[in-house]
Symmetry: C2
Subunit: 704 residues, 2 copies
Amino acid sequence: MISNLLHPDSIAVVGASNDVRKLRGMLLHTLLLGKFPGAIYPVNPGYEEIQGLKAYASLDDLPAVPDLALLVVPGAVAPQEIEKAAARGVKAAIVYSSDADPDALTQAIGASGLRLMGPNTEGLFIPKARLAPTFAHSVAEVLMHPGPHRNARRSVSIVSQSGGQGFALFGRGLAEKLDFHSVIATGNEVDLDCLDFVEHLVRDGEAGVILMFIEGLKRPERFARVAALAADRGVPLVVLKVGSSEAGRRAAISHTAHLAGTDTAYDALFRRYGVIRVADPEEMLAAAAAFSRLPLVTRANTAIITSSGGAGAWAAELCSARGLAVPMLNPGLQQKIASLIPSFGSAVNPIDVTAQAVEDGGAALAQVLATVVADDQIDAVIVNMGLGVKGRVKGLRPVYEPLFAQSQKPLLFHSHIIPSEENLEELADFGAHGFPSFRACAFALHALSAYGRFQQQCHASRANAQAAREPPSMPHFDVDEEAGGVLGEHATRSMLERFGVPTPPSRLASSSEGALAAARALGFPVVLKIQSRSISHKTEAGGVELNVSEADVEQAYARITANALRHAPNASIQGVLVQKQMPAGHEVVIGIVTDPDFGPLIMFGLGGIYVEILKDVAFAPPPIDRDEALRMIGSLKASPILFGARGRPAADVDALADLLMRVSDMAVAGQDTIDQLDLNPVFVYPKGQGLVAVDALIAVHQRA
Amino acid sequence: MISNLLHPDSIAVVGASNDVRKLRGMLLHTLLLGKFPGAIYPVNPGYEEIQGLKAYASLDDLPAVPDLALLVVPGAVAPQEIEKAAARGVKAAIVYSSDADPDALTQAIGASGLRLMGPNTEGLFIPKARLAPTFAHSVAEVLMHPGPHRNARRSVSIVSQSGGQGFALFGRGLAEKLDFHSVIATGNEVDLDCLDFVEHLVRDGEAGVILMFIEGLKRPERFARVAALAADRGVPLVVLKVGSSEAGRRAAISHTAHLAGTDTAYDALFRRYGVIRVADPEEMLAAAAAFSRLPLVTRANTAIITSSGGAGAWAAELCSARGLAVPMLNPGLQQKIASLIPSFGSAVNPIDVTAQAVEDGGAALAQVLATVVADDQIDAVIVNMGLGVKGRVKGLRPVYEPLFAQSQKPLLFHSHIIPSEENLEELADFGAHGFPSFRACAFALHALSAYGRFQQQCHASRANAQAAREPPSMPHFDVDEEAGGVLGEHATRSMLERFGVPTPPSRLASSSEGALAAARALGFPVVLKIQSRSISHKTEAGGVELNVSEADVEQAYARITANALRHAPNASIQGVLVQKQMPAGHEVVIGIVTDPDFGPLIMFGLGGIYVEILKDVAFAPPPIDRDEALRMIGSLKASPILFGARGRPAADVDALADLLMRVSDMAVAGQDTIDQLDLNPVFVYPKGQGLVAVDALIAVHQRA
């Protein structure tokens, strides 16, 4: 079981040696440095004693069955050692070797129930459990020179497929005075994968924020469930995922055989579950510090207090670039601040208290901070001053500490000149954090407010959950084998009707007179479309005529049936569909695409050029509710067009949101059948006048 | 003169004191720490001796006229001290006070010829000249603990309006082992501004790369000339400029009264002169390290060599995000590399040599590096390995150093775990650089290749300069006072004709019969437009009819003249312009806008939504040549539409480039007259079929 791995009572180290410069010795050495409280059994037939412990010739010789076996053996022999361990009743093992054959390991595990971490891993570290089965230098380093323990809002855990990146991040985090619950490097994941560990940590309840470095997921279909669990427990997931570039995907595959998956689908899932996606390790550490040290917010009107006007301008610029508001302060607040600072300072925001205010001991800066924190206009404060001079934070701590402790607003510190260790340590000592750059400050506030808003939405949608409606079930349909899984017009229409997707009024006609009668009933102009199971690309077959007038209906009927027979001489023709020609409206495209990893995604965009050239498209996994539908609509760069920009009438956005929800219903109900839906175009009419899906294509899974 | 400031023989310190904890003492202290070789005269009536030097009661008592006077006095008395200095014949002064009145200082300078730096400055530092008139801590620090001198390709200079940011950047740069030619903080710039210093540094020839931190330019019209000079001498300018956000602009104004200017115009100028714009201090240091240590390239196919597969994937991702190619290596190269690394590594790129290859001493990594550097496919290499372990670089130096010295390709080093000082120092010792993040590596390569390509273009356009044609001169025109500077149809048409802008065939008619005759000569359908100096908004006045057929010409003539008279009863009507109605083509918009700081800019975009909602617009300062015109066209996100995307015929891009050049001619010739030109829409026809400016508006400067 995974708990044998993370909370073992006893550990065997198979392949341990005395040479601490080599991995085989280093592993036991680190385990001992960690002061693991349970039994440790070195296993190596060549020795009586290893690093001061009694050694055993084989697992069979141990006085008791260990909870966990660590294998530091050549890759070639790892499978047989796993087999032995399983036979002995060992329930968990870590295989470190980079060159062990994954298939042989899987075979060796068989049905034994043994859970395996690795191969090609650097192991893990859980400080509180004094568990350090790793040869990572950064762990040995911290065990030899442990820092002070500090209380954090959330303790940080790293779950990384790459040991190199995971433990490097750990080392950098320690240098930034972060406290860690755990570091877990999952390696090539032949058995246990990163989601297993994340799920365990979330259920376990000790890790307050989890940083994931992933190249791809072995079983992506489980991601939604694990992410939903984390969201439910309020544990932010911060993810650094390779795969937005071809070169990154290539690297991921060649490195640990992870398929990076479709980045679009990952992004859509991340948005749905409030996952904070970061672009580099610096952003990851900024998010970790934020969640670990600071309260969440749902709004982030940011004040910047600085002792350097130039730095303040720069902070404002970087905050704005990250989408944070740095509002001009209200006149009353400006007035209060102006009375506290020199006349050549500035009270607008950024607030330039001037270097003089700091050189004078910092009382002015502290008063300004207290004033700003107390004002409702402001939700978060970045405090910038030089922290190079010894004793600077110590001197201001009597003011900073109570403000920091009592405030429900995030207070972030940054020094534009290189800060001294002593000042950073002093900040950390009362729970504050010295961020290494304004970019990091801005990212931290972005993460806190994005996650704060996400949690608020979660509560709102839980409250609305009772009102959730059951989607209709799938209607029966015949798969059109000849058309490669594309449904015929009739099946398509009944599917759309079942889910309430508006389509143009239409009738099936089987003669030219019938077509004329149908058209008269519908009103002119009309569209005629050939109906034949053998013809799936109607336009190419000359089987469609648009804008047909009363005078031309009968000839048009004759033309397209003739075209169809010329195109497919043996086609059986069911007739001609006569549809009312719909007036043009705002053109949009709505669809369902099936991601190979994550299943169905709802797609939304404006027509043609916007989707194909400008790539202005939104994706979301179903189900989507009204809020989510409105978010999708608003997320397009071109969305002002729908809201009435450039003098065009505003589109019926309510009807559009409604249609997105209906398509979402269809995706949920059709999970196992629908491979692709394409409503293209949908004409959206002015506010209150609804919309219509003019053309539709549904393809079903070939297995369906 | 500015040279008295940067290369003084003697310095007076007005207001100097013995208390080195206060600015007045600190300034002299730092000057002395710097071992300034010339005479230093403390001036303060209260002392016989200050910090071991003979003190003087006033400037008049000095034994000689100093080259440079430093004023550390209360702001209120600074102007009178400047007056005294000027009277004594001092040629340059620095005023440090934050609260000195700029106008009083300007008045004090009068016509004396004294050049003033500041006020509100932290001073400057030129290590080689042993000149340190500054109270910045980072300078005192480096003077007390000087590092080794290293030879660099380019020495780095910082010119910053903000002293806080300038000297903080200097301190961070020193920690990254950079070597500096100078740091200059220009403060509030009542006299000398940052462009004065940049120009001096470029002419002087010692600074090889100049980092500018600017909030706005006092005299932006000089920027183009100084940037062109730097481009000509091959001195890269790296600029961190506030102003892309409202909050940043507000900060700049309140801080040093700099108007940040139009960011669009700055960007257009920066592109023209090859200025590297950076988004934060981290990018600035990355660019500084790149130019200082590494050769330029014109192509940046990048190889990544790593000891950690995870780090390699991440490096590939960040390089791609910055637009660098990380190509799959050619099969032959892959094969060579595969023979040098363990089987569980990867030779595709990123090249994962595995941790084992490094633990084994690094010979394999070095061989891989040599192999990659020798291959034509690759232009630049990022070498990633853990540099935490003592002696790692020292051990590999025998391989790295000659490779680094002989290669014309940039080799960049990065350690994903925190590197030791010793390893970084060892790298710097042979001229290499340990970049602090992959993001920094990617930015460095972006800067080297962007500037490399820019220099290549400069050479190409110098070679083409002989072929440059003289633009036509401005035609005579009458300013239409009533229309607020908007030219009438006749003046507009003659202006467009003079510069060769194609317009629809048209004739002026003064009767309905005349209109019919004109229309018959032109061909139907036609457009009729009222011609009256009193009516500038023709459409609103009912003075335009489109798509007029032969049957309707005479009535249309009557309608619009009647409308016009109803709209403006006293209007004198010159007649009606009859224009051929042009067939629709690709719609584009071309214009001239006048930036208040930089003068005319050429604007180009696709019609309507693309410009107004998607902000997909390109700007460039005139003159523009064909290459620049084609770059503008290709820079639009929607440009694939012009090149024939989505089945539409490709537009006549050659004609479009030609029109952009003609508009550029117009902007150059009309520099002092044209305030705005708007060709909207221009119909661009398929390849070979030209284009036509269907509608045009020209506004002239009110002073013209």
